[in-house]
Amino acid sequence: MAVGALQLGRCSGPLIALIILGAIGAIVAAVISRSGGLALGPGDMAAIRFTFHQAVWSAALSVLLAIPVARALARRRFRGRGIIITLLGAPFILPVIVAVLGLLAVFGRGGWVSTILVGLGGEPISIYGFHGVVLAHVFFNLPLATRLILQAWQAVPAERYRLAAQLAIDGWAFFRIIEWPLLQRAVPGAFALIFVLCLTSFAVALTLGGGPRATTVELAIYQAFRFDFDLGRAAFLSLLQLGLAGTAAAVAVWLVPRVELGRGLDRSHDRWDGRGAGAQDAVVITLAFLFLVLPIGAVAYDGMGGLLVLPGSVFWAAVTSLWVAGLSVGLMLTAALPLAGWMAMRRRAGAEVVGIFGIAISPLMLGTGAFLLINPYADPGRLALVVTACVNALMTLPFALRLMVPALRDLVDDYGRLSLNLGLRGWPLWRIVILPRLRAQMGFAAGLGGALSLGDLGVVTLFADQDRATLPLQMYRLMGAYQMEAASGAAVLLLLLALSVFWLCDWWGRHA
């Protein structure tokens, strides 16, 4: 009997995929239907080239650097490891402007690195340029790549590490037999995900790129929308962006081989390999930690004073943001579980491409489309927060799928036959077999989704509502009202909240 008979998410999976594709399609159609014609402007090719190059470099470097970091974290157990892993998630969840200011506090003209260099009689560094864009994107995405790859290391059954230790497999042989297959499984997906994330970058690329040389497709969409008010061109450019992302995702999925990691007994991980590499691992972890935490530290240090002068409305905004995040996580898990089940049952994972569209579509277009769809029937301002939650759920879906699909595939391989024999199907199958073993992935995905949703400014600016603002919007309003000190206080509050949400969910996932 084939495990295919398990039929995980057989109906609900494709249905949800259809709903997502339908929603995106309707949004794009709504935008296109309002326009005259489609054409590429003269600067568009340059924008496409720049976008593609920076995304490739950013994704490649993020993944390459993440491998040693994940490897070191996977094989070391030390005090504070959990906290380090949580803090490593911080750059990813910060609102763009806060992270940029943090990065500049360290690498900027007046930043710490330049100050030290000048103090030593050298020249200050210049962060602005292509390298600055890549540096910032690596800063944002290295943590994500690290976590995704770390997850792959942890997916290897503990028995394989034991066996390797017993057979004294170490060094190159260990890499070839144990680590290479798991990297083959994890790296293409992580690369594609980060590539797509970097595709829609706009403010970071522009600011750190030092000017219009760093024009991305997203900025061209922005220009088409608000400078030229050419909705057709805006929609056309976002379709192009979608096409680039879809191609990347498809290639990545096609590259992922069906690697059998073997079955295990859910035993806890003990590692014997990597002895003698302790110093090397310590250096790698320290460097990654410093690179990611120093800018965050600068943000926190800068905002301490601001915490004391926060107006009450900021705390209300925080409450609003928390429930938006909660709603978005709920929606995201509801969609992700059946979808992941359905994808895991398929030999070739073409369906995974669907998930990636959520982050590949221009947030501006998504917001505009949603506005056009809602406007004839209701006041978009009233629905602003629900739309924000839906969009955030859509945005975090790819991360959840990335985490859950490989884990679910292993689960089907490991427990599929037994479950079929026992006649487990439907909800009992999920409850008894799948959910308990997917807890780590669910916790991480929920934490990531919640934190990301907390920090997302996104579509809410298009619909802004006088009475209900999210925390990032309130922070932006403070900045817009010259109140930079209070704004940096709000950024610290946001950072604390996002990290707490992330840590709580992740902790729940890791402690059965």
Binding site: L101, L206, G210, G211, F227, N375, Q466, M479, A481, M484
Partner: protein
């Protein structure tokens, strides 16, 4: 489910309040925030009318116009407040606006002739710098100096577009040369004003493109005298922010009342210390203390709405090509 209940409750609530007429004013986000003029103006206007004034905030001026275009004649808005003269030509093209019929004795440095839009505040773009540093006297000085500036992208920001037109108004066909000269002074270009101003305050640049009235905020709200605006000998480009009445309003009388209210003291005296701009009609009490220390440009530059609309594509192309090399 909970949200459905909430939505239902809000619909029922709206019906219950249907007897009070509602005036809907679309504006930019920072106008409605609690630090902006919105709350004080809402209170003041509602005290004079038996109505409910509702502000709806959307991004900035350009986003506001985009939203109006998206909604077209179906829009709920009775008044649009927050376009500037760079946007009014495109706004008028929509055919959605009606002349407001309000006459006022403006305190604008230029003559106001547009019958369709009513100015409510104005300011000059300027580079803001630390008061202890000598600032360049004009664009050519700036280009020759090694002073670093941070500016906003004209494609995504109102002040960014203002700078583009400032250089164009001052130098005409020579504008590309000026931008070539400025290229090595520009540390970076940001998406919006907040990012640029944040970078400047964090010490990433010596000067930032903002308004001549920016130092007034630091002086009046923070007692901080360390910021100054640099007077440029070419003159300064202006931003005039306007309100417009929609032809399709379902509250024509109320909308006309509001337009008249816009140029009254009750509205105008809120502007200087919330929007940090000059009021279009100086209120009887004058400007708040501290505003007299702001620089007064030798010359006021401003393209008419039609000129601005014609000029901006060319100016953008010049800017892009000068800074993309």
């Amino acid at each position: 489910m909970r949200y459905l209940a909430l939505a239902a409750a809000s619909i029922i609530g709206a019906q219950a309040a249907a007897e009070t007429p509602v005036l809907t004013v679309y504006t930019y986000d920072s106008f409605v925030s609690e630090w902006g003029p919105g709350p004080a103006i809402e209170t003041a206007f509602e005290a004079t009318c038996d109505c409910d004034l509702q502000f709806v905030g959307t991004g900035d001026g350009a986003a506001l116009l985009a939203r109006l275009k998206l909604e077209g004649s179906r829009t709920e808005a009775d008044i649009i407040l927050g376009l500037d003269t760079n946007l009014t030509a495109a706004a008028l093209e929509t055919g959605l606006f009606a002349p407001h019929g309000v006459e006022a004795d403006y305190d604008l440095p230029i003559e106001w002739t547009d019958p369709n839009f009513l100015p409510y505040d104005w300011g000059y773009f300027a580079f803001v710098h630390g008061a202890d540093v000598a600032a360049p006297a004009n664009f050519k000085d700036l280009a020759a100096s090694d002073q670093k500036i941070v500016i906003q992208d004209p494609r995504s920001s109102t002040p960014g577009l203002g700078l583009l037109l400032w250089v164009k108004a001052a130098y005409g066909d020579e504008a590309p040369t000026i931008w070539d000269g400025l290229a090595d002074n520009i540390v970076t270009v940001t998406k919006g004003w907040s990012e640029a101003y944040g970078l400047f305050l964090d010490g990433e640049a010596d000067m930032v493109l903002s308004y001549t009235t920016s130092p007034a905020y630091h002086l009046i709200a923070e007692g901080d005298e360390t910021k100054a605006a640099a007077p440029f000998s070419e003159g300064h480009y202006m931003q005039v922010e306007v309100a417009g009445m929609l032809a399709g309003t379902d509250q024509p009388d109320l909308a006309a009342d509001f337009m008249a209210f816009v140029v009254s003291d009750a509205f105008q005296e809120v502007i200087p210390t919330t929007n940090w701009m000059y009021p279009a009609v100086t209120p009887e009490a004058g400007l708040p203390e501290g505003f007299e220390t702001m620089i007064t440009p030798s010359k006021s530059l401003l393209f008419s709405a039609d000129e601005a609309a014609m000029m901006r594509d060319e100016a953008l192309a010049e800017w892009l090509s000068a800074l993309s090399n």
